[in-house]
């Protein structure tokens, strides 16, 4: 139990996917201009991460023990098609849920945060439940970072900022400061 909690907090704060591992930066910088969109993107990403964790565990247990060199191709193909399948399923079953996060699903299937989650979970030898908890922590951490940046960006639109620094340059500097703040969590656990 302690172990699961530690995995969750570690993925959520200490080793935040965006701010410590630089994964999923494209949506992080691209979509974070409004709070609502980024919250929805975060939700969709968390969902895909959970699917990924299950896929990665199944593949690792039943397929990749026999052919480790196919790891990368297997992960990509299986994750992309599962997400596509679930997208169709949601569209049929719940149009409201589809409107909330459907349009983001195809965008994030080949995102590096998703693939990174599968690879990290494999490298650390996580089991089924550990993988699920890890995905949950990483997804919520991603949402947290996205929402924080979106809030700061909405605020900055009302301020008088030199034209030169507007856009990506400023977003990166804001992200740097956020990342520095998140480094404070590194002391949260005494063991390494």
């Amino acid at each position: 139990m302690d172990n699961l909690l530690w995995i969750f907090i570690s993925a959520l704060l200490v080793n935040n996917f965006v701010l410590a591992y630089f994964l999923g930066l494209c949506p992080f910088l691209g979509v974070s201009n409004s709070l609502e969109t980024s919250a929805r993107l975060g939700l969709a990403t968390t969902f895909v991460m959970l699917v990924t964790a299950v896929c990665a565990w199944l593949l690792n247990t039943y397929v990749l023990v026999y052919a480790p060199y196919l790891r990368l191709i297997c992960f990509i193909v299986v994750i992309a098609s599962t997400v596509q399948f679930i997208e169709m399923l949601i569209k049929k079953l719940s149009p409201a849920l589809f409107r909330a996060m459907g349009i983001f699903l195809p965008l994030i299937t080949t995102n590096c945060a998703i693939l990174g989650l599968a690879i990290f979970a494999t490298n650390r030898g996580y089991g089924f439940w550990e993988g699920i908890v890890y995905a949950l922590g990483a997804g919520i951490g991603f949402t947290l970072a996205l929402v924080l940046l979106a809030g700061l960006r909405e605020e900055s639109e009302l301020s008088d900022i030199p034209k030169l620094i507007q856009g990506t340059a400023m977003n990166l500097i804001i992200a740097g400061i956020l990342s520095m703040a998140f480094m404070g969590f590194a002391g949260l656990f005494s063991h390494t």
Binding site: F22, G24, L25, L72, L115, N123, L164, A169, N171, L172
Partner: protein
Amino acid sequence: MKQNQSREELVKGIWRDNPVFAQVLGMCPMLAVTNSAINAVAMGMATFFVLVGSSFLVSTFRHLIPKQVRISCFIIIIATFVTIADYTLLAVVPALHKELGAFIPLIVANCLILGRQEAFASRHPTKLAVLDAVGMASGFLLALLSLGAVREILGDGALFGIRLFGENFEPWVIMILPPGGFLTLGVILLFFNWFKTKKDEFLEDVAAAQRSEG
């Protein structure tokens, strides 16, 4: 004319359409591995190999790949090259491979590579596609190297592991930690913007002067 176009495709990726500074693509590997110059070079070389190899294959087979499933085909081609690069690095430089860790397989998710296949290699003949890939990959390598060098010099007081300053240098450790990556790239982009604005102003001035003369 033909000669000019080939050179144009090769050169544009290095500065004008630089994948990182001008198009802001491929950020994830860019920031994650540039905490030292040697890591940056290894990452740049691996990306170079993958980009040139997959551009070559995609443009050679561009008439055979069905349009509806082209993205999946591109990804499988890219993933194959990434697997080759991963195992080659593991065999040749195991220490470096360990340091780069999960970020070698993650080259496959680099939007720069998929972007070039979709926007260029799938629509142009092999020779141009390879030249374009070489140009873009060199631009990416250049960007990685400049970021890696800045961060290593400031954060560690060294370049390629060689000490640059005396004993009294106090390393600015934050630069090799994650926040340093964001901050350095932000400042570099700022300089790039500044340079571009100045150049545009200069060109406008020249045009205005010519008009008033004429």
